[in-house]
Amino acid sequence: MSSNVATNTPPVVGNPMGTGNRRGDIIATAVVWLLLLSMPYWMALIGGYTELAIRIVVMGLAAMSLNFLLGFTGVLSFGHAAYFGLGGYGVAMCIKYLVPSTPVAMLVGIATGTIAAMVIGALIVKLRGVYFAMVTIAFGQVFYFIAFRWNNVTGGDDGLSGWSRKALDLGFTTIDLPGNDKAYYYFALFVFALCVGAMALILRSPFGRTLIAIRENERRARFLGIPVDQHIWMSFVISCFFAAVAGCLYALLSNFIDPRALRWDQSGNFVIMAVLGGMRSFWGPLLGAAIFVALQDYVSSQTENWMSFIGVFFMLIVIFFPRGILGILKRSVTK
């Protein structure tokens, strides 16, 4: 899987996620954050709505978490929805059955997804390529069936409803998450910022550079003495950790979680978002998620045949813009 992807990439210097122009990167990051911070306000002007904005942020985080593994380590997982969904179920079951508190529920959800990833990652780390992808699907589907079958606890196919996100009591003030959509948006954005910041730090660290080395040429990395399997395991766990966080936010967004959040087509959507925006860049998946979510929302309101439009659009991107939307711009600069 890694060999073909290696062609066409410029040598990696400095910031692995940037283009070598430090000032440009800072401005770009600033612009992205400016847009994100003000999204609820300009969204409404172009026909969006706050919930859509939250969904973009949540899906963006999920796609970026997948990209940590796919774009930066060069390993394709088609079962990320499992950890996304486990995060969601953790949150839902915690609020419904244990402690009705949003932060505690998030910790439970994140822990659930991450522990599952640690166990499963250890089992599958020796596989590569399409085998790795298929085995991630297999485990994802097993979780799907558990959620589906364990009706009494998970609500089965009907999903887990009858709970909702709780207000955040910070001692000096209470943030009304359930009642105020904008409040929840900024909460989600705050969590997103923490995760994205952590991801960026990890990628800039020597560990992150090693991952990229593995992506570029695994055999060479191995010959250099790098314990490749352990690195891949760590990358998998980190990636699933962030996916679980996204899953928590997702469940809190809808006040609902159901087995479909765990299914392989949900995983497929994350891959699509990452590729659409550009797997090789840091912000690419966020852009991909924004386009995917917004496009699907808009087109499905206009026509029943939205699946054709999305399918054709996606095929065009894959054939003509394999580096995604961001990839075109990047490549033309670094030639």
Binding site: G24, A28, L35, M43, G47, F145, D258, D297, L329
Partner: protein
């Protein structure tokens, strides 16, 4: 000498393009909102399955609602204001999308009423949204008991039957036509579970003996192994509770196995859509319908059939009627309450009787107070390959169950309605 024209793709400019692209992508999220002055229409949002497995039945619900809105507007709309139906695709299984669309309908489009969904799980999720946003929701086709049962809300109403109601209606016919030994083939989700337990309860009172049962995952394509087990248990009747495509697969295979010659094949809920998808030799069995178009002696039904036939070229199904009645219920409630405020409309709809041109049945259906569940007639009968009424007359009605006869009590529904102060 040619001068190479270069795009100014300096990093700063490039990043701006990136940001602009993101903005442009989001531009596609819809037309600019134009604030209208003057007469603001009342919007009814319908969030139903237009793609995926439930597309056929979901589409029919939307068609029924569309006709209702047209009729409403001819009669002056709601409180003198024109009515607009806003349709969104919930997809057939993605609750996240259904919830997102429900919020879109209420927040962005300003809908005062919410209709939907075919899928029980999505209906429950949407009901929570309606409850949070304090808007009236009339559930069209999600049958799970909880919607007007354990999870009922003051502002959520339902047109279609509960599974207990269906079980009560059809159990006597199953005992009479088939026998007492039943084997269940049940879809493995809440709808199936409650339908089976409802049948066990109703049948139990009449001496039913359960000889076995299987829970089948949704989307099962091959029922042969379940049918083998069923036949080996020696029942009088195999009670097929799976719906939609699963129903088609199961019945098709059962008939191919020649099982209908050895045991009865029957069930509870049945609809025109699966019967249309079955080859004629597989259209058999005792079932209950929640609404049927072939009612020659009931006024207004002929006009309804004609109007739907003009729109789609087909006869209306129960799903068409669900959407139709649901939309009308919103208008009737609002006009009765002289307001679109959820609390007032909800109060106005308690024990509300649907007028004949909306009810389209011999009895007078009403929303039971304290439960918000519509209590209508039911049609018990058997499927036929082709009836006298035409190529879509695939059900022979043996008995029309009177309003309320099979409805159970309010206590049994487990609904403890809480009204806001």
């Amino acid at each position: 000498m040619t001068k190479k024209v270069e795009l100014d793709l300096s990093p700063t400019r490039r990043r701006f393009i990136k940001a602009a692209a993101a903005g442009a992508a989001l531009q596609m999220t819809g037309p600019f909102l134009i604030s209208a002055r003057g007469e603001q229409p009342v919007k009814i949002g319908i969030d139903d399955c237009l793609t995926g497995t439930y597309a056929a039945v979901g589409k029919n619900e939307v068609i029924g609602a569309t006709l209702a809105v047209e009729q409403m507007n001819k009669k002056g709309g709601i409180l003198g204001r024109p009515v607009e139906l806003v349709t969104e695709d919930s997809t057939s299984g993605d609750a996240g999308t259904a919830v997102q669309k429900a919020r879109k309908l209420i927040d962005r489009d300003g809908c005062d009423f919410l209709l939907g969904n075919v899928n029980s799980a999505l209906t429950l999720a949407m009901a929570d949204v309606a409850y949070e946003k304090k808007k009236i929701m009339v559930a069209t086709g999600g049958h799970t008991d909880a919607v007007t049962g354990a999870k009922c809300h003051y502002n959520v109403f339902r047109i279609c039957n509960t599974t207990q109601m269906e079980a009560n209606a059809v159990a006597p016919a199953l005992i009479k036509n088939a026998g007492k030994k039943w084997y269940f083939i049940t879809p493995d989700y809440a709808f199936g579970h409650t339908l089976q337990s409802g049948l066990e309860k109703a049948g139990g009172k009449l001496g039913m003996q359960k000889v076995g049962g299987d829970l089948t995952p949704l989307g099962t394509t091959d029922f042969s192994s379940y049918l083998i087990k069923a036949q080996a248990a020696g029942p009088d009747v195999i009670v097929i509770l799976v719906q939609g495509d699963d129903m088609i697969n199961c019945l098709k295979q059962a008939v191919q196995f020649g099982l209908e010659k050895k045991v009865h094949l029957a069930g509870a809920q049945q609809e025109l859509e699966p019967l249309l998808g079955l080859p004629p030799e597989a259209r058999i069995g005792t079932w209950v319908f929640e609404w049927y178009w072939n009612q020659p002696n009931v006024p207004h039904v002929k006009e309804f059939n004609a109007a739907i036939k003009a729109k789609t070229g087909h006869m209306p199904t129960a799903r068409t009627w669900f959407g139709f009645a649901a939309a009308h219920a919103c208008a009737l409630g609002a006009n009765a309450a002289k307001s679109v405020d959820a609390l007032k409309v909800a109060k106005a709809l308690q024990n509300f009787k649907l007028p004949p041109e909306v009810a389209l049945m011999p009895g007078v259906p009403y929303f039971r107070a304290g439960q918000n569940q519509l209590i209508p007639n039911q049609w018990v009968g058997h499927a036929i390959a082709k009836g006298s009424g035409g190529p879509e007359d695939l059900f022979h009605v043996d008995e029309v169950v009177k309003v309320g006869e099979a409805a159970g009590t309010l206590e049994e529904s487990e609904c403890k309605m809480q009204w806001p102060s």
